[in-house]
């Protein structure tokens, strides 16, 4: 049954809004009593501990936790009530890094990044740098949320932005269950508008990718097979085209952790993740080539560590102090949530890794 989702865990004052509480849960229970190996011990079995950062390839910037949606699985705990927003000053510091680092991909995320009042300024400035792949993670419904966002497809096109959008299923029921009532219809309309300006065409330059993440306590299926099913259904039902589908595993943190515990699926889910552990995926986990920057400019190994308030293991912590030489080779900060990125074919913001 769909339900109206309105508040973040932070707004509700939930115990799980506290990142220390989440880390405590992830370290206790089945991991404390030895039923399951800790992530550290698991990667040590194949001599992959400690995980080390390689050369920076992807700079992922979270421009704020504010969002027009309150999705069940959201690891950011984003929502309309979140007020953390990146300032133009911090954006300027990020731009300096974009200009001077060798990163080939810039990845803007949120919340709904478009809700940051300086979003368009930032996109315009960042586009001037000429980075190879400029991603904006758009939740789609924002494009239909208010008149002031209606021109976003044209704006994205103007700056050759690579649009990556969430779509948990090609059916209304499963999508609305996870993302809220009415999300499916608005998402379909937004996808059609993106197609209309040229996004998602098989041989076009304007890339439109979809992100699939499961709507419940199970892991994603094969990415290629899912992409085929999505393409067939969206074309047949709505005449929609897109380029690639990324299958992403839900990590057991924040709202998804809250759901796992409330539905008594937590232990079974952790067993699934550990059973599906793939040492090949460890070799290419995204934290080894990505840097995540929070709304207030602090640096993390990934967006998940950002939400767990696990800063990078380095003398420098803030984007204003960025120094490639000091960051490369640093030890990645890990906990049991990392099993989410090493299950099966692996998982990252760019989909499978193995």
């Amino acid at each position: 049954m769909t339900k109206l989702k309105t508040q973040s865990l932070h707004k509700k004052g939930s115990d799980l809004a506290n990142s220390n509480r989440q880390l405590e849960i992830l370290s206790n229970g089945v991991f404390q009593n030895g039923e399951l190996p800790t992530f550290k011990n698991k990667i040590a079995e194949t001599n992959q501990f400690p995980l080390k950062a390689k050369t920076l390839e992807i700079l992922q910037i979270n421009v704020g936790y504010m969002c027009n949606q309150v999705c069940d699985h959201c690891h950011v705990d984003a929502g309309p009530d979140r007020k953390e927003i990146m300032t133009r000053e911090t954006m300027r510091q990020c731009l300096e890094v974009i200009k001077n680092s060798g990163a080939h991909t810039l990845d803007l995320t949120g919340g709904a990044p478009e809700m940051n009042p300086d979003f368009r300024w930032f996109v315009e400035e960042a586009a001037k740098v000429g980075i190879k792949d400029f991603i904006v993670r758009s939740n789609l419904t924002i494009i239909r949320a208010n008149k002031k966002y209606y021109d976003l497809p044209e704006f994205f096109k103007k700056h050759n932005v690579h649009v990556v959008s969430s779509m948990p299923h090609w059916t209304r029921g499963k999508t609305d269950k996870q993302r809220g009532d009415g999300v499916f219809d608005k998402s379909i309309k937004a996808l059609q508008e993106l197609n209309a300006v040229g996004y998602g065409m098989p041989d076009g330059d304007l890339k439109l990718d979809l992100v699939y993440n499961p709507s419940g306590a199970f892991l994603p299926g094969d990415q290629m097979a899912m992409e085929k099913d999505f393409k067939k259904a969206l074309m047949e039902d709505f005449n929609i085209q897109f380029n690639n589908l990324f299958a992403i595993t839900n990590l057991p943190i924040s709202r998804f952790l809250d759901y796992l515990i409330a539905s008594e699926n937590y232990e079974d889910y952790m067993y699934q993740l550990v059973d599906a552990y793939n040492p090949e995926a460890v070799k290419n986990v995204m934290c080894t080539n990505t840097l995540s920057v929070s709304w207030d400019g602090y640096m993390y190994d990934c967006d998940f560590n950002q939400m767990l308030q696990l800063p990078i293991n380095s003398k420098i912590k803030h984007i204003s102090e960025y120094n490639e030489g000091l960051l490369e080779g640093r030890n990645i900060v890990i906990s049991q949530h990392c099993y989410g990125c090493t299950a099966g074919a692996g998982s990252s913001c760019q989909g499978v890794v193995a």
């Binding site: 299923h169 059916t171 499963k174 499961p214 419940g216 199970f218 994603p220 299926g221 097979a225 899912m226």
Partner: protein, 111 residues
Amino acid sequence: MQKTYYDPADLRKFGKITEWSEELGNKFFEYYGKVFEEGALTAREKSLIALAVAHTEQCPYCIDAYTKDSLQRGVTKEEMMEAIHVGAAIKSGATLVHGVQMMNKVNKLDG
């Protein structure tokens, strides 16, 4: 002592059957894995067949496993229920078609 015949935790121990008969166990799992690979049928179609058979076999382990597997492959609950009805129709059909044998016998003995 275990009080019930089935324990959900036993499903994870399935692989242990190789411990008491390694060669046969390994051959079985190799075959099993091969069967469910993409082939002339998609892995998604095979998952739905397995789900239907899991019900006709009334195997609780298999029902758990292939419900989850179906969800992972994006199968909807409507598709899952239809698949189970296919299994149920064959089960009931298999019962009822034997009614012809009964009719034949009645006709021979008392026709």
